[in-house]
């Protein structure tokens, strides 16, 4: 389930980076560091802003530095969203 989620985020991010860099999505390397693509802090703010909107959750721009590639950032997000989902479920099921 989290793998599916991770793939979805990866695909969405690759498309976005391809659009920003004006290259075909197939040319985007998901293990290359964002800064190697020439993305600076202003780009990090707009990428995390758009990504946050897409996922319907708030995302700190610093996440792009803690998880500096498409694949590590996607994995982190998928895992943390799954953890939050599990937390929400178990809270719903908790005795009142």
């Amino acid at each position: 389930m989290s793998k599916q989620q991770q793939d979805d985020i990866e695909n969405w991010l690759s498309d976005l980076i391809a659009e920003i860099l004006e290259i075909p999505p197939s040319k985007v390397d998901r293990t290359k560091r964002f800064d190697r693509y020439g993305l600076d802090s202003v780009a990090a703010v707009s990428v995390t802003g758009m990504l946050g909107k897409h996922l319907g959750r708030d995302l700190d721009a610093t996440a792009m530095y803690d998880y500096p590639t498409i694949s590590t950032l996607s994995r982190y997000l998928a895992e943390s969203m799954e953890a939050e989902g599990i937390k929400a479920e178990s809270m719903e099921g908790a005795p009142q």
Partner: protein, 289 residues
């Protein structure tokens, strides 16, 4: 004692940022309206971390129990209030270039607290001060277009004044952002034109050379991670009150603050900027010139 030309940001440039509206800042700063890097250490609320930061500077300036304390760049007065209400200080004087801030402090009617709309460079005290604190204002004491020599000379004017106003062995506790792994050339045009006009950051080496033979540096902390956390916390609070913020200052201005707080968080997180807390002790006797 004559006054000096203000080497840093003009009152107009300061008011551009700080006078956008007290109720806007009240939406996302903590309830004491402290607008500078907090000290998180063992604290996990913004409120507590701001108080800890203020107490840190009260301790380092040795202000506790003193008669007269000066706060240079006093914001909305959180340090002044803590000095008189908690640290046993009889009289706390604050300087700010923001009219809104001074008006707010006046409205509080805090006993023993006085705020003036005046640059440190124009300040002529009626009597010396026992301790001096300056938090998050030094970032406004130089301009990007100054030569490196003029920049240090401007800072030195500040340290000279503090030196004149303190008793032998008196302390100044200073907190400021600084260039860390970056230079003036990296100063973002977005900040220079839309957030903090007429302002430049110091380097630690410039602070050291500007204070040489006037003060000795007794202690220093670089807490840049604390500012990354403070900026992100401010932004979260701003987003939570987004609609009210938009109603007060408009969509574009809120977007500007959102972007600035995120860029700051990144800068402190990756170390392009540092956050220095420095304790200075007056050197005696000093050869001033």
């Amino acid at each position: 004692m004559s006054t000096l030309p203000n080497p840093g940001a003009s009152a107009k440039a300061i008011q551009f940022h700080y006078d956008i509206g007290n109720s806007f800042y009240a939406l996302w700063l903590d309830s004491s309206l402290t607008y500078s890097c907090a000290l998180w250490d063992d604290h996990d609320t913004l409120e507590a971390a701001q108080r800890a930061k203020i107490d840190y500077h009260i301790e380092k300036s040795r202000a506790r129990g003193q008669a007269r304390v000066l706060d240079i760049g006093c914001g909305w007065g959180s340090t002044l209030h803590r000095l008189t209400s908690n640290a046993g200080v009889r009289s706390a004087t604050g300087l700010t270039l923001s009219q809104e801030q001074a008006a707010y402090i006046g409205q509080q009617r805090w006993p023993g607290v006085h705020a003036h709309v005046e640059s440190w460079s124009d300040h002529v005290p009626s009597a010396p001060y026992d301790a001096i604190i300056s938090i998050g204002a030094f970032e406004h004491f130089a301009k990007l277009d100054q030569s490196p020599k003029d920049k240090i000379e401007g800072y030195r004017g500040f340290f000279r004044r503090c030196h004149e106003w303190l008793p032998p062995g008196g302390c100044l506790s200073l907190q400021t952002m600084a260039y860390e792994n970056s230079t003036r050339a990296d100063f973002s045009p977005f900040f220079a034109s839309q957030i903090f006009p007429e302002s430049d950051l110091p380097r630690l080496s410039e602070i050291a050379s500007a204070s040489e033979r006037l003060f000795e540096i007794v202690s220093m902390r670089n807490d840049r991670a604390h500012y990354a956390r403070t900026s992100l916390e401010w932004r979260r609070r701003l987003l939570r009150r987004r609609l009210e913020a938009v109603a007060l200052i408009g969509e574009d201005a809120v977007a500007r603050y959102d972007k600035y707080l995120q860029l700051w968080a990144i800068g402190f997180h990756i170390g392009t900027m540092g956050l220095l807390r420095l304790q200075f002790r007056k050197l005696e006797p000093a050869r001033l010139h």
